[in-house]
């Protein structure tokens, strides 16, 4: 079984070129950084096509092309390094299983992103983390009414937001809020896309996002106070 290990160069390493299985990837000499050039599209398409036939080397190339975005996405969504690694692994495992089914209706990176988000969602749901109250969200609890945060630009937030406090505040958001906040405000998804992914209404997505922002604002306002109290 010594040869059982898949013969794949670590991604991001230059395969000592020609001895590798012949692949039409021309610019491997440029380790993993294909993104910019115009050539890259053709190359990624070719790599993708190869990976779809089961070529493990091509799959490794895809990994090295997309690992940063996917890992970062997972990290943002769950806010935990170990879990993000685990989810990234799961996402690429799923990719390996499903890659042959990719039909090119959307950009591959978009498709992969969706896949990764689904992996994260499934994990969160399995853990029973309330994807919340996506229903409750429609009728805010009394203390969560907009009026509570009404008024008061007493923060001087603009311009000087404490990174640590914000990090903490985002980490402390309920999982569902954080998901939508990350997907919309950080990843740039539209509400209709989020609604599809999370299987909720667009109105829900909007109100969740707003509530997430209000919670962050509240948190940023209370941290300094708590500290001052000591």
């Amino acid at each position: 079984m010594t040869s059982s290990r898949l013969e794949t160069p670590p991604p991001d390493h230059n395969p000592s070129a020609t001895s590798r299985i012949a692949t039409p990837i021309e610019n491997t000499s440029n380790s993993g950084d294909f993104k910019s050039a115009g050539v890259s599209n053709a190359t990624e398409a070719e790599t993708l096509a190869l990976a779809q036939t089961g070529d493990h080397y091509a799959f490794a190339q895809l990994y090295s092309l997309h690992k940063r975005r996917i890992y970062s996405l997972c990290l943002r969504m769950v806010g935990n390094v170990a879990e993000a690694e685990d989810l990234t692994q799961e996402a690429f495992l799923q990719l390996h299983r499903k890659i042959a089914t990719f039909r090119g209706d959307s950009a591959f990176s978009t498709w992969l992103h969706r896949l990764a988000i689904n992996v994260v969602l499934m994990r969160l749901r399995r853990k029973g983390l309330s994807l919340i109250s996506l229903d409750e969200a429609m009728e805010p609890a009394p203390e969560e009414r907009p009026g509570r945060s009404f008024g008061a630009p007493d923060l001087n937030l603009t311009g000087s937001i404490d990174r640590l406090a914000l990090e903490r505040a985002i980490a402390n958001l309920p999982a569902g809020y954080r998901l939508i906040f990350v997907l919309h405000d950080i990843e740039g998804y539209e509400h209709n896309e989020i609604a599809t992914m999370l299987d909720c209404s667009i109105g829900n997505s909007k109100s969740q996002l707003h509530k997430a922002r209000l919670k962050l604002r509240d948190a940023l306002r209370t941290y300094p106070r708590q500290e001052a109290r000591r």
């Binding site: 059982s4 290990r5 898949l6 794949t8 670590p10 991604p11 299985i21 089961g54 493990h56 080397y57 799959f59 490794a60 990994y63 090295s64 690992k67 940063r68 975005r69 890992y71 970062s72 990290l75 943002r76 993000a84 690694e85 990234t88 692994q89 690429f92 495992l93 390996h96 907009p146 945060s149 009404f150 008024g151 008061a152 630009p153 923060l155 937030l157 603009t158 311009g159 937001i161 990174r163 914000l166 990090e167 985002i170 906040f181 405000d185 950080i186 539209e190 509400h191 667009i202 997505s205 909007k206 109100s207 996002l209 707003h210 509530k211 922002r213 209000l214 962050l216 604002r217 940023l220």
Partner: protein, 88 residues
């Protein structure tokens, strides 16, 4: 009730915010904000938070050994699927 008029407008405006934020239109063009400093500041804060959050999460590199784990997992799956896992 004329006194509360302004306030009512603010509350109305703020209750519409979730909807407004989602449309992609520039909220700062909203008529209410032209005349209301309170809500302007409020919206500015929310936007500042979102902007700060974007900068908070740069694209980062996963650890190198992650690929090995993925490879092993793939291998394992292929083996248990009765395939040899032999590279073509």
């Amino acid at each position: 009730m004329t006194d509360t008029n302004h306030k009512m407008n603010c509350e109305e405006f703020q209750s519409q915010l979730p909807e407004l934020i989602g449309t992609g239109e520039r909220i700062s063009d909203h008529p209410h904000l032209q005349s209301c400093e309170l809500c302007s500041a409020f919206v500015a804060e929310l936007e500042a938070i979102a902007e700060a959050a974007r900068q908070l999460f740069p694209i980062v590199e996963p650890p190198d050994e992650l690929w090995e784990h993925i490879e092993m997992a793939i291998q394992k799956e292929q083996n248990s699927a009765g395939q040899s896992g032999r590279p073509m």
